[in-house]
């Protein structure tokens, strides 16, 4: 994310997007898999599609690759309308979720497959394949068949194969799903490096929000075939526009109430006899609306003495989760609801300050929470 502050073509009206998805709807029979989606994706972006299973991520990718045609709406890539353009005529390559490596071909031939289709001459094919092998550190495995290499290596072959043709747009459908955490993180950084080097535009589908946050220039959160929010990872996390997004990305405490006042900050009354909660106003709200207060567990401080902060609640610790680098306290409020609070473990567990059944105060600053329409 080194460049994220500089690289923001979506904020520059002078830029033309590489991909325009305009009011695209896709129906299978009477089931609507994609519902009136519009997205602009810019050159050199690393664009992540995020959403629960069955929300239509793969379907959207398959429409970009040309395996499905939109029921309504229009997709243009590089200014060209893609309607009726078959997959083999698009400057788009896809890395399949299952890798889809050709089992009868060696690693080398798998990578060369697309180049040969372009009737490229032998030397150039060989040079390009070698380049790809080097990029993905697969030189040693060139002569092997896909069933003779490991899962992580296969995934790199799939990546090399889809990169070999230097597509304008590379689609990655859950490319790292099969890898263990460590290998996945390594590969994420490899992907970002490759993207820097090649300048290809990436669209990546993932189930893993952490992955989306790590690699993406922008994240699109989808639900039931609709786009819920498209934004940079930071804004998706810090300024979700809806409870759905706040809840989908990361952990969040949600407290229901009524909007008391809206100004610079919004106030939410949530329980009789309690001071209202104060937070940033997430979207157009007016006094009297039903709303939800969203606060991330790591933004909450825990203390024994009553703190100064205006947002403070009292409760009892009912559970402590130890996650190594941090501890999660589950605190029950007097009204019976629960809140989660995360505290970094700077000292050893044995010296932990709080324990089960302790009465504690939870507090957070005025700008830490968000008031969102429910």
């Amino acid at each position: 994310m080194v460049n994220s502050t500089v690289f923001a073509p979506w904020e520059d009206p002078g830029q033309t997007p590489l991909i325009r998805i305009e009011n695209v709807t896709k129906r299978f029979g009477d089931f609507t898999a994609i519902d009136d989606v519009s997205i602009d994706i810019y050159t050199r972006e690393f664009f992540a599609l995020l959403g629960p299973s069955g929300c239509g991520k793969t379907t959207l990718m398959r429409m970009l690759a040309g395996f499905e045609t939109p029921s309504e709406g229009r997709i243009t890539i590089d200014g060209k309308d893609m309607a009726g353009v078959p997959p083999n005529k698009r400057a788009v390559n896809m890395m399949f979720q299952s890798y889809a490596l050709f089992p009868h071909l060696t690693v080398w031939d798998n990578i060369a497959f697309g180049l040969r289709r372009d009737r490229m001459d032998k030397d150039r094919v060989a040079a390009r394949v070698e380049e790809m092998l080097k990029l993905t550190q697969l030189q040693k495995f060139a002569k092997r068949k896909p069933h003779q290499i490991s899962g992580g290596q296969r995934q790199r072959v799939a990546l090399a194969r889809s990169l070999a043709k230097a597509p304008k747009l590379l689609l990655l459908d859950e490319p790292l799903g099969a890898l263990d955490k460590k290998l996945r993180e390594e590969t994420q950084f490899e992907l970002m490096e490759i993207q820097e080097k090649t300048g290809t535009t990436f669209v990546i589908v993932t189930h893993d929000q952490e992955e989306a946050m790590t690699v993406a220039s922008r994240v699109a959160v989808m639900n039931h075939g609709k786009l819920v929010q498209v934004d940079t990872p930071e804004r998706i996390y810090e300024a979700p526009k809806s409870v759905y997004v706040a809840d989908f990305i990361g952990d969040v405490n949600l407290i229901e109430g009524l909007v008391a006042s809206v100004g610079e900050l919004a106030e939410l009354t949530w329980a009789e006899g309690k001071a209202p909660l104060i937070g940033q106003s997430g979207a157009s709200l007016k006094a009297g609306d039903e709303a939800v207060f969203a606060i991330r567990p790591e933004k909450i401080a825990i203390s024994r003495e009553e703190p100064e902060a205006r947002n403070r609640v009292r409760g009892k610790i009912v559970d402590i989760g130890y996650l190594g680098n941090l501890s999660v306290y589950h605190v029950q409020l007097p009204d019976g609801s629960y809140m989660k609070c995360e505290v970094g473990n700077r000292s050893r567990v044995s010296r932990r300050d709080y324990t089960w059944e302790d009465e504690v105060w939870l507090s957070w600053t005025d700008t830490a929470g968000l008031v969102l329409p429910s």
Binding site: P86, P87, F96, S98, G114, R117, S162
Partner: protein, 295 residues
């Protein structure tokens, strides 16, 4: 217990293959005789060691020499191989599209289609071949139909020609071709074809560069399964082929049952077996390789 299970197949092989083969081989070394059984010498164990020695002394390779002297035999072998090879290719040409169609049919239809392919096995092979006489005869259904729609003016003489034999073999062995090819195509991951298209193949090139190579094990298995039994086929050339179709199975039959020359017939059978050992071994190897590639 475990040992028992490994012994069973070998015992099976010995009792049902090696012993009969040894007997046939022994008869092929004997001489024709007007007696029961119709060959000499026969072994008389009661005579002791001397009898065994005499018996062995009388065995010779005369019948094999005879097979090389009469052109009928090697021509029949060659003709059988040729007919089997051509039939195999024809069966492949008919069977591959059927298997391909089955593999691409909607999931719900496939069991039904599979049933239709296997269905003929439920009636007797002999009856099915006889049925083809009814279809191919001069007054048969095919000619009646073609005359009726006016494609031909005079009935075709199909029965008792090599064409009839090809039709018979292709019809009979088609399921042996379809099933292994279907199995290979069914295993083929459809995303491979999408990947091929994604990398620049048209549908047609994707078929030739992905589908065909990946169905090759099925094609090879199917070809062997048709070729091997077709070489020794007896019933089809006898019933449909008439007198001018030369096949070694037919010769064998005639030597045994018309001439009652068991020794020559046994020699014919032994040579046929030796010829077939080559493709059988090749087939086994291919199966082995296919299994290994699958891991």
């Amino acid at each position: 217990m475990k040992r028992l299970f490994t012994v069973i197949p070998y015992a099976w092989l010995i009792v049902l293959f090696l012993v009969p083969f040894a007997i046939v081989f022994k008869i092929s070394l004997s001489d024709y005789a007007v007696s029961i059984p119709p060959y000499a010498p026969t072994l008389d164990i009661a005579g002791g060691w001397q009898a065994v020695k005499d018996f062995l002394g009388e065995l010779d390779f005369e019948n094999y020499v005879f097979l090389t002297e009469d052109a009928l035999y090697w021509k029949a072998y060659l003709s059988s191989l040729k007919i089997a090879a051509i039939s195999t290719v024809l069966t492949l040409l008919v069977g591959y599209p059927i298997a391909y169609g089955m593999a691409r049919a909607p999931e719900a239809w496939r069991p039904t289609l599979m049933m239709l392919v296997i269905l003929p096995f439920w009636t007797s092979f002999l009856i099915r071949v006889y049925a083809w006489i009814g279809i191919l005869a001069t007054e048969g259904l095919l000619n009646q139909f073609l005359l009726w729609i006016g494609i031909i003016d005079a009935p075709l003489g199909l029965l008792n020609t090599p064409t009839a034999v090809y039709i018979g073999i292709v019809y009979t062995y088609l399921p042996f071709m379809i099933l292994p090819i279907y199995a290979a195509l069914d295993r083929l991951d459809p995303s491979l074809l999408e990947a091929a298209e994604d990398l620049g193949c048209s549908r047609t090139t994707a078929f030739w560069t992905v589908t065909v190579p990946l169905s090759r094990p099925g094609v090879i298995a199917g070809c062997f399964l048709v070729f091997i039994p077709a070489v020794g086929e007896v019933v089809i050339p006898s019933l449909l082929g008439g007198s001018d179709t030369l096949m070694i199975g037919k010769i064998l039959w005639e030597e045994f049952f018309s001439n009652r020359d068991w020794p020559v017939a046994s020699a014919v059978a032994t040579i046929l077996l030796l010829i077939l050992v080559v493709p059988i071994v090749l087939f086994q190897r291919q199966q082995q390789a296919a299994r290994e590639a699958e891991q």
